[in-house]
Symmetry: D3
Subunit: 294 residues, 6 copies
Amino acid sequence: MPMRDLPDIIVEPIVRRALEEDLGLAGDVTTNAVVPPNVKARAAIRARKAGTIGGLQPALTAFRLIDPSLKIETGKPDGAWVSGGDTIATLEGSARSLLTAERVALNFLGHLSGVATATARLVEAVRSAGVNVKTRITCTRKTTPGLRALERQAVLLGGGFNHRFNLADAILIKDNHIAVAGGVVAALKAAQARAGHMVQIEIEVDTIEQLLQALAAGAKIVLLDNMSVEEMAEAVRLTAGRAVLEASGGVALETAAAIARTGVDYISSGALTHSAPSLDVALDFETSLRDKPI
Amino acid sequence: MPMRDLPDIIVEPIVRRALEEDLGLAGDVTTNAVVPPNVKARAAIRARKAGTIGGLQPALTAFRLIDPSLKIETGKPDGAWVSGGDTIATLEGSARSLLTAERVALNFLGHLSGVATATARLVEAVRSAGVNVKTRITCTRKTTPGLRALERQAVLLGGGFNHRFNLADAILIKDNHIAVAGGVVAALKAAQARAGHMVQIEIEVDTIEQLLQALAAGAKIVLLDNMSVEEMAEAVRLTAGRAVLEASGGVALETAAAIARTGVDYISSGALTHSAPSLDVALDFETSLRDKPI
Amino acid sequence: MPMRDLPDIIVEPIVRRALEEDLGLAGDVTTNAVVPPNVKARAAIRARKAGTIGGLQPALTAFRLIDPSLKIETGKPDGAWVSGGDTIATLEGSARSLLTAERVALNFLGHLSGVATATARLVEAVRSAGVNVKTRITCTRKTTPGLRALERQAVLLGGGFNHRFNLADAILIKDNHIAVAGGVVAALKAAQARAGHMVQIEIEVDTIEQLLQALAAGAKIVLLDNMSVEEMAEAVRLTAGRAVLEASGGVALETAAAIARTGVDYISSGALTHSAPSLDVALDFETSLRDKPI
Amino acid sequence: MPMRDLPDIIVEPIVRRALEEDLGLAGDVTTNAVVPPNVKARAAIRARKAGTIGGLQPALTAFRLIDPSLKIETGKPDGAWVSGGDTIATLEGSARSLLTAERVALNFLGHLSGVATATARLVEAVRSAGVNVKTRITCTRKTTPGLRALERQAVLLGGGFNHRFNLADAILIKDNHIAVAGGVVAALKAAQARAGHMVQIEIEVDTIEQLLQALAAGAKIVLLDNMSVEEMAEAVRLTAGRAVLEASGGVALETAAAIARTGVDYISSGALTHSAPSLDVALDFETSLRDKPI
Amino acid sequence: MPMRDLPDIIVEPIVRRALEEDLGLAGDVTTNAVVPPNVKARAAIRARKAGTIGGLQPALTAFRLIDPSLKIETGKPDGAWVSGGDTIATLEGSARSLLTAERVALNFLGHLSGVATATARLVEAVRSAGVNVKTRITCTRKTTPGLRALERQAVLLGGGFNHRFNLADAILIKDNHIAVAGGVVAALKAAQARAGHMVQIEIEVDTIEQLLQALAAGAKIVLLDNMSVEEMAEAVRLTAGRAVLEASGGVALETAAAIARTGVDYISSGALTHSAPSLDVALDFETSLRDKPI
Amino acid sequence: MPMRDLPDIIVEPIVRRALEEDLGLAGDVTTNAVVPPNVKARAAIRARKAGTIGGLQPALTAFRLIDPSLKIETGKPDGAWVSGGDTIATLEGSARSLLTAERVALNFLGHLSGVATATARLVEAVRSAGVNVKTRITCTRKTTPGLRALERQAVLLGGGFNHRFNLADAILIKDNHIAVAGGVVAALKAAQARAGHMVQIEIEVDTIEQLLQALAAGAKIVLLDNMSVEEMAEAVRLTAGRAVLEASGGVALETAAAIARTGVDYISSGALTHSAPSLDVALDFETSLRDKPI
């Protein structure tokens, strides 16, 4: 189970912006009016539905940025599978701090656990396809603006793999590129001439014919776009290990096993990040006590 | 149909961050390698599924920030209902610019059209409850971190209303606040004593008994949390117009009409913003031509 | 006395910008040249004139951001009334740190104590109007650019109330809106149709006639703009509790009691934030000692 | 009359922050609700009281950042003296844009015209001291946090001069530095040894004795702190042109002429920037017309 | 010749920070004092030494950010080889704008042309090794903090290739990683298990023995660290095309040809970015004329 | 030896940007894949060549920002002269943290030690000119964009002095200013009329005749641009102490002593900051141990 792969220097600015969004410049006027500064409380973050936890790191960062003196204990870390009712973390300290950070923390936790859970389910669907199936699940760049780093991490937590992060770190030649460049071979040659040794080159093909052109031109990674299961199987057979094959387009829980059995190396799914429903999580206050001023 | 309610000064920083996320510091290495700088193209953004358009403003902002010289025409503005295949906008100019901005633009458009569409469907469900039903749909603070301004706008575009923006602009006394404050009446009194005349005060109640306490203490807005339809009807009857009533908790397309018929003023739904699936939209290149350098 | 209503996440960026403004990129060249790094000192922040303390939170934040190891003790917290000579806080630690942060800290403290003091004086003027006078003092959006959050907090510390924070969190229909919309009733109807349940709506009127139109159209909050005391009294009589009334325009210490006696609910004053003179505060070094390197 | 000494790259970020403060993330909800997008208007910014204009640059920048298509004409530029009723600028374009930017623009204009006016009055008071009086007025670092660049510019516009911008660009040895360093001479020697040729060194003295020590140690600029007019005259006589002398402490309109007649080179006043009341300015709509969509 | 591979959205923030660094918050006090606002001028940027131009894009961006109305013509674009005296660009417009932006523009141009020139010389040294030599020059992550995007672009302009941009976009297993992981094979296996298909994996080896281990474990890219020319030749022979080989460590103009002749695929050099001397470039005013106010 | 003249509030944002540049939004994918989170290590930063240390403050800040729990001990502080092999600092803690921060830290340390070393060598060259030679070395504004604060500090650490920081803090009238203003005298008079008492004024002259004009007009600081050693000697003789003289243009290690012997007060060198080669520094892992989770 991967842990803390994202340093705070990456996560904190994202959480800070979310807190600024939710606090505005006047802060939590409800809590200021209703909760005296000296009240302490103990609260638990709980899952109300089953799923894979993702986003606990930014969620706890929200509490820490609001109040570094809060005591936090993790019950179920990022990547853990929880059942409804399970306690994910407990927090203790100023009631004001807990109430002020609550919504932002839960928004991260719910959304990213949703992504992790959707990934875990797709991974499981592939696993169920058979013991010899090695197909990996990967995300795409169809992410929620501003949250790509965290959503990709959630995909890892769910057992998936990451695609390129962005336009800058790998080459993916898509249909429009091919059209402008004048064909599969021309596009591929242009990319190979320009790319250094640390940049992967993938090319998208719509047909078996394009696949064969790409392989002949030395393609090492090929995206099979919206092919039928039969076409994919044919593609795997013809490729014969010369390139990594990624199946893309309209992947669903129901179709994943069949696709995986074709022998493609990767199945990519945009829905993992753009359409996964939030996992239901909540903060329950357990006790609150008015004591000496904080 | 609301237009340009959000000035560029609000929208641009959000889009800029998304572009920075997708361009990194090295830019679009695929397009740089494969597409010569002097190629121009014409492309169309099209809906592949039916829905309500939201997020066209940030989507077009993405293209404009990448290349202010692109010519853009809007076919279906924000708030319009589209069928699959409808052209939402057409763009003409540098092929490089179109390819580089494409994904960020579509990520905004798909996500926010998803929110607008989910809202429109819930609004329609309520409308179908009967001609005398005046219940309004509203969002919550359960939004995607960093995108609240745009998601709320998408809710408006779908025919919904907005709840408070954040912790700073209105008072919403929730169950944990009541527990800490020592009851409904104590919490409400504290809020009334502190709030100025421009701040609304809403209080959440779980039971009819709490509702009566709140009304007696002068509550003007009450959130009925997770009540049954029968309890809500009772709440409406007992309130008798003394307060605005908001129904919250587990609202679904299937249950909305029944809830609305109880006579509550607002139905709020977190799912509109945290779990709406993305609307399928795409950019199709129509022509590309190599001509004189741009 | 309100305390810490503004979390550090709101206050720190404002103080950080002020420090960056005063330190540039080269730091405190005087102190670097004249004060060895190993000198420690003890200093006191003192009021030189009487007033209400505001801005101690950002002032102490300035010292903390420069040197988290400084020991700080608060003598008179935000909201306290001080006499000339009173010690507001004492600080101990690196002499360099104290000297470097001094001016920024005092600029916040002097300005915001000025706002708090002006508010406290206006509140006192109203209180002197009679035991039955319940009129509250409130600020406006006529604040110093960049400091609204802190100035509003200073108004609270002086015993006042806050108006809406900004254009986004409440509706205030002013004369120009009315002119464009085609009258009081049209403007009010448009606002009521668009606003959700968590947004207050206030409308500005210049005449008794406009007031009556507004009340008939269901106005719940009315701003009486630049009315004479006699007109205000008439407005209160005619309104008869149907709406909250705010008196605005040319309020001064001398006229506040008379205005309050008309029975208006709020008196708003832009001068509290845009024209309050700074309170005279200073940092006095008490001892300094060269000892072992810090 | 100085013009455009501050490039937009300096002014825009300050204005942008002020707009963000006043627009939040939801924009101008009043104008959105009440003013249709297709209404155009013409408006004038007018002075309601006499004074020197300062801050027109940031004020007009506010309008431009909200809507670059607004047509703006300047009637009285920064630095001009206006009478009550004078038109400072006229604006024409979208009524929404004018209403949304109005308050931020006026907040800059009122505050900075207040600073320019206070400066102009102090300059005039010195000028009235006699034709041979050459004393210059200068500001200090007692500025409003975040607005130093603009306030210093306003001091120039009022006929004053600028002191050092911040801790980084010149050396000013104050009483606490002297105490820590072990005396006037030790402090001055340390500064001279460290400073390069492009950094001015000023030293603050409380007594004639300290002044003589400073002069003997080669001081070229001396701040006379809180001296009586008699002491200042003595200081001028003893200095005999060997150093520039700055009078500081409790300067008021009433005492400025007498101080100037002592022959000091500069009079510095913190009140110019920290306590100048705002100049009353307003935006008047002249016409509004609903025409074709903008 | 590559052009505009970096969109303005990447380049502008870097240039903006440099301008803020050089303008502070008070602007160009020399030009403000000495040059009237209505003077126009024509100026030329010239090379004083021979070299390859790099950084013209950020240099011209500096002028544009200060004054969008400046007319700019490019004589020698980024990537061109110039002789001493050649005109790189001419600029015409406000003399104030030209003087204010000059130094920042030249700092970018001089530094990045230095990088491009050093690269071009190393590329030429390799080319001189023989017609069959295909070795490519590449940069490293030993760049100047904050300028990596621009320095890498300058390397491309000089005819080199780019290494990975940063820690996030490719895997490079170095000696310390190997030590911690427990050897070449263990480290490589761990990387292969974790990396997705779009991430390249390179491993650093110090000895022929490590190289053989790496190849046996499936390494596709190997960095030969500080090997002698003889070792490198042996490495090439033993690898026999199974992996891309990168030579690193102490590469100099004098040794590059010999290294290239060993048949390694890439030579990487940190000195290209961390130690290339600036190319001497200057701005010459050609004419200046006082005419009607700008 | 100067220490900590730059507060963290200045240094941290620069280092943070460099870390963001090197970590992207995905972090250190190599270390995440290869190094388990529970491995601790001890490492030393060592000089591989002799030189003056500069930039240790930002280098250690990089480690601290990545992991505040790292234990750091300084062996050779900023400003110290080191021989090849000397240990500059030792670090102990999470192996992941050490590996992730390494390159950014070394990039700062190498570059700024390069600047400090180049300065120290030029200072030594001047010192060798004779015991009576008092000439000081100073930097210019020809710095690396974004790093001016740190490079100037490195110049101080090498024994040099600083020129003005930027366009805002002192006046330097250059040839183009003189041409536009209509001559040395006109330019100087304009500057003197505008500048306050805390701003130094320097004027650049190309000829002895210009020097005499400048002195006659009251110049206190004169830059001798590209003069021969003979001209400089003549300039010193004619100036006779009436002004500070700065020699500029083509200064090299070989010519510095001769220039210094002319008696000029300052020698300025842009090459110190724009062309100093990096000092070779490295991080060596000494031990690593897998123990209990961090």
